[in-house]
C-alpha cells in the first residue's frame, strides 16, 4: 500500500501532536496514576497525552485523504531558518552570559549584535552604532532608572 500525502502541513502537524502526546505519556510514566476517585499526579497528564495522540493521529490520517481547501490560509515562503535561529539563539546567549556573570553590558551587546544577524541584509556599521546606543540606553533605563541590580561588567559588582 502506498501513502500519498495530500496535505503536507497537516501531515507534519499530526506527527508533531502525536509525538507530543507520546512524550507526555512517557514523561509521566513514573507519576502515580491513582484512580478516578483519587487522581494521582499521573492521571491528568496521561489522559491528556492519550487525547493528544488521538488528535495527532486523526489530523495525520486526514492529511492522507483530504487536500487542503483552497481558502485555508497557509504560511507562504520557505522556512525562515535565519531569523528563527538568530533571534532564539541570541536570547539563549544573552541568558547564558548573564547567568555566567559576564555583566549586563557585554550580554546586551551580544544580544543586539546576535539578533541583528537575523536580518538578511546586515549592515555592520549600523549594527555597531545601534548596539552601542541601545546598550547605553538600556543601562540608563534599567540600571540607573529602575535600579535593577545587575553588575555592568564582569569586574564590577
Amino acid at each position: 500500500m502506498r501513502f500519498t500525502i495530500k496535505n503536507a502541513q497537516d501531515f507534519w502537524c499530526g506527527v508533531f501532536f502525536t509525538a507530543m502526546g507520546v512524550l507526555a505519556i512517557w514523561l509521566a510514566r513514573d507519576y502515580p496514576m491513582g484512580s478516578a476517585l483519587e487522581m494521582g499526579p499521573g492521571y491528568f497528564p496521561t489522559w491528556l497525552g492519550g487525547i493528544m495522540i488521538a488528535f495527532g493521529l486523526v489530523i495525520g490520517a486526514l492529511s492522507l485523504k483530504v487536500a487542503r481547501a483552497d481558502d485555508e490560509p497557509a504560511p507562504a515562503g520557505p522556512w525562515a531558518y535565519r531569523p528563527w535561529l538568530a533571534i532564539c539563539g541570541a536570547l539563549v546567549v544573552f541568558a547564558l552570559l548573564m547567568d555566567a556573570g559576564f555583566g549586563f553590558v557585554p550580554s546586551l551587546f551580544a544580544l543586539i549584535v546576535g539578533c541583528a544577524l537575523a536580518h538578511k541584509d546586515v549592515r555592520w556599521g549600523e549594527t555597531l552604532v545601534l548596539a552601542v546606543v541601545l546598550t547605553a540606553a538600556a543601562v540608563a533605563i534599567f540600571s540607573y532608572g529602575l535600579e535593577l541590580p545587575y553588575r555592568l561588567f564582569w569586574w564590577s559588582h
Binding site: F55, L62, L91, A95, C115, L134
Partner: protein
C-alpha cells in the same frame, strides 16, 4: 442602583488617586507607543510590558496592564490607518476604509472618529460591566467543582470553534496548553511534573514567558521571514484633525450599533475583537444606502468597527473578573498577572477585593478618556515613529523583551524558555496552529485538573456528575451544540467567509 453608584464611587476614588492616574496614563501611553510599531499586536505588547507592572501594588499593576491592553489596541488602529499595514486582528478591518481616508488627506478625522467611537463604546461597555458583573458573580459564587470544570470545557471548546484555523488543530492546541499548564509542582501531591529536574520550572511556566515567546518572538521571526515590508507611509502634512459635522452625523449610528455588537461578543470566549469588527463592518455595509463607498474611505467603515472592537475589549473583562475564566489570550495574561500578585481569580474577588474590581472598571473609563486626549495631539509623533525601518526596530524590541523576561525572576532560564517558546511558536505557525487556545488552556490547566479531582472525589469517581447537576449539564449541552454547529456546513462556510474578510 444605589449600590451601583456607591460601587462606582469607590472605583473612582481608587482610580483617581494621583498614583493610579499616573499608572493608567503610563499604561495607555506605553501601550499605544508599542502598539503603533508595525507587526506588534496587543498581545505581544502586553507580554513585553507585563514585567514593568509587577513591581507595583496589585491594583495599580492591573490598572496599568489594562491601560496597556486597550492602548496597544488603539495603537494598532493608528498604524492601520496611517501605514496600510494591518497588524493583527481587528485593525485588518480598520485598514479597509481608514487607509483610503488617510490617502485622501483625512487621516485626522479617521483617527479622531476612531478615538471618539472607542470612547463612546468604552463608556457604555464599562457601565455594562459594572451592571452585569455583580449579579453574574453572585450566581457563580454558588458554583461547585463540577460546574467550574464544565464551564472551562465550554470556554475552551468555544474558543476553538470560533477561532481561526482548523477545529481539530485548535482542540489539539488546547490539549497541548493543558499539558504545558501541568509543568511544575502538583498542588495536591507535591510531586514535580515535567520539570526535567530544573528549579526554574518548579513553579510552572510563567504566562508572561510563554506569551512573550509565542506572540513576541514568533511574530518577529514571521516579520523577518517575509519580503521587506512595503510601507506606504503617508507623506505630507495631516491637516484638519477634527471631523466635520457631517462626519459625526453619519458616524453616530455605526458607533451605537458597533458598541452593541462588540459588547455582546466580548464576553464570549474566542470571539474577540476581530469578529466584532468584521461583523460591525458587514452590518454597516449592508444597511448603507450606497455600499460601493465602502473600501474607498467611508467614515462609517472606521467608526463602526473601531467602536465594536473597543466595546468588546471592555466587556471581555466580564468573565475574567467575575468567573476567573479568560475569554481571550489577552485576558489570560491579565489573569496570570493577577495570580502573580497573589490574587486568586474567581467570583469572590468582587467581594473580597472590591477596590480592585471597581477601581479597574473606573480606570478603564478614565483610560479611554486619556486615549482620546492623548492620541490626537500625538499623531505627528506616531508618524515619525513609523518611519523607523524595521531593521533598526526589531533588535530594540528583542532587547527589551530579553531584559523584561530576565528581570521577572533574575533567571536566565526564563529567557531560554521564552526562546524555546518562540522557536516552537514558529513551528506551530508553519503547521497552521492557532495560539490563543493554547494560552487559554495553559492558564486554565491547573484549575481544570483541580476541579476535576474535586468533582470526582465528590462522587466516588463517577464522571456522570458533570451531566447530572443542572448547571453543569447546561454547560455540557452548550459545548455539544457548539461542536455540532461547527459540523454544519453552513456555519463552517460562514466562519470561513468571516475569516477571509469578505
Amino acid at each position: 442602583m444605589e449600590t451601583l453608584l456607591q460601587n462606582l464611587l469607590l472605583g473612582f476614588s481608587v482610580a483617581l488617586t494621583l498614583e493610579n492616574l499616573f499608572y493608567c496614563f503610563a499604561g495607555v501611553f506605553l501601550g499605544t507607543l508599542i502598539g503603533v510599531l508595525p507587526g506588534i499586536g496587543s498581545l505581544a505588547t502586553m507580554a513585553m510590558l507585563l514585567p514593568l507592572t509587577l513591581v507595583l501594588p496589585p491594583v495599580s499593576a492591573l490598572i496599568m496592564l489594562a491601560g496597556i491592553y486597550y492602548g496597544s489596541d488603539y495603537g494598532g488602529s493608528t498604524t492601520a490607518i496611517l501605514v496600510n499595514l494591518p497588524g493583527e486582528g481587528s485593525s485588518v478591518v480598520t485598514v479597509l476604509d481608514g487607509h483610503p481616508m488617510a490617502q485622501q488627506g483625512r487621516a485626522g478625522p479617521a483617527l479622531a472618529i476612531a478615538a471618539i467611537g472607542s470612547f463612546f463604546a468604552g463608556c457604555v461597555a464599562t457601565l455594562l460591566v459594572a451592571l452585569v458583573g455583580p449579579p453574574l458573580a453572585n450566581i457563580a459564587i454558588n458554583f461547585n467543582s463540577p460546574e467550574y470544570f464544565s464551564l472551562m470545557v465550554m470556554a475552551l471548546v468555544c474558543a476553538s470553534v470560533v477561532g481561526s484555523g482548523s477545529l481539530l488543530k485548535s482542540l489539539a492546541m488546547v490539549v497541548l496548553g493543558l499539558l504545558i499548564g501541568i509543568v511544575g509542582t502538583d498542588v495536591t501531591s507535591g510531586a514535580s511534573r515535567f520539570t526535567f529536574g530544573s528549579v526554574a520550572l518548579s513553579d510552572g511556566v510563567g504566562i508572561a514567558v510563554a506569551a512573550m515567546g509565542l506572540f513576541g518572538i514568533t511574530e518577529i521571526v514571521k516579520n523577518l521571514a517575509g519580503t521587506e515590508m512595503t510601507q506606504t507611509i503617508l507623506r505630507g502634512k495631516i491637516t484638519g484633525l477634527m471631523p466635520r459635522w457631517s462626519d459625526f452625523k453619519v458616524s453616530f449610528g455605526p458607533i451605537v450599533r458597533g458598541t452593541a455588537i462588540g459588547a455582546v461578543f466580548g464576553p464570549l470566549p474566542g470571539l474577540g475583537g476581530t469578529i466584532s469588527s468584521f461583523t460591525s463592518y458587514m452590518v454597516e455595509k449592508k444597511i448603507a444606502k450606497d455600499p460601493s463607498r465602502f473600501g474607498k474611505g467611508a467614515i462609517e467603515g472606521v467608526a463602526g468597527p473601531e467602536s465594536a472592537n473597543n466595546a468588546c475589549a471592555q466587556t471581555t473583562f466580564v468573565p475574567m473578573l467575575t468567573l476567573g475564566i479568560p475569554a481571550s489570550a489577552s485576558m489570560a495574561i491579565m489573569l496570570g498577572a493577577m495570580m502573580m500578585h497573589g490574587i486568586t481569580p474567581g467570583p469572590q474577588v468582587m467581594t473580597s477585593r472590591p477596590e480592585l474590581f471597581w477601581g479597574l472598571i473606573a480606570s478603564m473609563w478614565i483610560g479611554n478618556a486619556m486615549l482620546l486626549v492623548l492620541n490626537l495631539p500625538l499623531i505627528g509623533l506616531w508618524v515619525r515613529l513609523l518611519k523607523v525601518p524595521y531593521r533598526i526596530l526589531f533588535p530594540i524590541i528583542v532587547t527589551f523583551m530579553g531584559i523584561g523576561i530576565y528581570s521577572l525572576n533574575t533567571m536566565g532560564a526564563d529567557v531560554m524558555l521564552a526562546a524555546l517558546f518562540g522557536a516552537m511558536g514558529y513551528v506551530l505557525y508553519r503547521l497552521g496552529c492557532p495560539f490563543p487556545p493554547l494560552i487559554l488552556a495553559m492558564i486554565l490547566g491547573p484549575l481544570m485538573e483541580e476541579n476535576l479531582r474535586r468533582s470526582l472525589l465528590l462522587t466516588d469517581g463517577d464522571p456522570s456528575v458533570f451531566f447530572t447537576r443542572p448547571i453543569s449539564l447546561g454547560f455540557m449541552i452548550a459545548t455539544g451544540v457548539l461542536l455540532l454547529l461547527f459540523a454544519l456546513p453552513v456555519f463552517r462556510r460562514k466562519r470561513k467567509a468571516v475569516m477571509a474578510g469578505e
